[in-house]
Amino acid sequence: MGSLDTLRLTAREAKKLLVDGEVSAAELTKAYLDQIAAVEDRVHAYILVTADNAAKYSTKVDREMQAMRGPLAGLPIAVKDNMVTEGVTTTCASRILHNYMPVYTATAVRQLWDDHVVMLGKTNLDEFAMGSSTENSGVQTTRNPWDLATVPGGSSGGSAAAVAAGEALWALGSDTGGSIRQPAALCGIVGMKPTYGAVSRYGLVAFASSLDQIGPLARSVYDCALLLQHIVGKDPRDATSVALPAPIELPTAARLDGVRVGIPREYLATGIEPGVRARFDETAARVEELGGRCLEVSLPHTEYALPAYYIIAPAEASANLARFDGVRYGHRTADADDLITMYERTRGEGFGPEVKRRIMIGTYALSAGYYDAYYGRAQRVRTLVRRDFESVFEEVDLVASPTSPTVAFRAGSRTDDPLAMYMSDICTIPVNLAGLPAISIPCGLSDGLPVGFQLIGPAFSENRILGAAHALEAAIGFELAPSLRDSSAGPAGAGAPDGEASGPAGGGQR
């Protein structure tokens, strides 16, 4: 085996190396564990590296090759730490779940384990996936591999940074308002949010149940499609999951002949950095070079999407997070003699500031006298946002926008202003409200930092999106080459990742 360049290797290439016998699953896994050992003290992408489990399991895959042969067997993956994994702690980056040991495994993860994918560990996130920079993590601050002084985006910032830094071949994330696409954009990789219902949410710790969706983060559009193929499907344990009308195809398109791409004027109207705008315009020009057609379209209720989201998501969160009460699992305060005080103090001690803010907004919006003015109205606005997309998709096949209005911002620059942080997701939030699939692909650099190009399609148009993104990706020729430099003078990062899971013997993959 030659040395594996984990910064560049795609899953497609890794799979070929495995099939051709050029590399073993154990060697492949070791390459990622070595890269983790080399850079993790600067990136802080993982909350938990399950090194021993991964090494053991990859050896087993090699040994039982005949029985374990399958399209993904032996390929290592990182999993966002809000998906429960039996025998491997799942914290949601929250103090309230710091010691939580799941007794079951999320369906999406279970499907990959059944395919003999090797889990490398659990990645950092904004606490309960609430945030856009991973700075709301109660465990550690993840750094962007392109510049350690900047954030990786969020909330799937650990997954995105791990893939960008060569610490994972690919990863699972979850996207409620942009939490896969925005960190993928800021870290220069590909991230996809599938249509709502395409991937089971069973075992995904619920943030906003009508918006949450699990999806892939990877180094190429092809890899994204390959991973997506293996996590979609109807799950009896998630009544909102549905069977896709057609299987996910591995993309081959090189042209965009006849594809009509709508560019919503509202998305370009405000707050898009000049460097991001320039890369976006160049990429739109490539659409035309490849035979597609760009048309200006209008999504008139765009400016109301963010306010509606910041009622609907917190309202659902305030209900979902009621279960963290110190009774059945997680943290319990040492300082309470009666039940109500126990609830209140447990939650006060266990939740961080952003989670508290959202619980408060949500509770307020659902409280007597305010329900219609806030929650009821937000749901009606949600209908208007959906209708905007429906009517645009009568004229065009796909909608394109920048994924994030800015490139990666400096750590600490938005933490004191919740609204400024919320604005990070202005181009991604409407997609979740409408339940649509969308992808972010890297389309160049601005100030040395990656810019993301977002393609949105109608419900269940994953194959159309993946095909177009694949053709554009080849034309763009983006080179993933994060420098791991630190543009700030001081030392970066805080805290080191924990050690091996302290679970019972045989926890995790067996």
């Binding site: 009508s210 009622i311 508290k356 408060m360």
Partner: protein
Amino acid sequence: MIGEDDVRYVARLARLHLEQDEMQRMTGELGKILAHIDKMSELDTDAVLPTAHVLDVVDVTRPDRVEEGLPRAEALRNAPAVTDDSFRVPRMG
């Protein structure tokens, strides 16, 4: 405009203890966030039906089959306090 009394009341509803300094900060932050959210009131939504859920699926059913449940010991494994094979909590106030 939301005041500190409102914040205290909502925190009570949410079973969320906030320290005094958190209470003050939260009052200011919620005020700003809600002011932004009030932008929605520019729209006339009276004739619009609400969307609670984007998928066109209702009344999902599955076969009513008895399956193995979670063993009691497993269910109790993460509990902060256990007594007589049950979750133990402090007395009601």
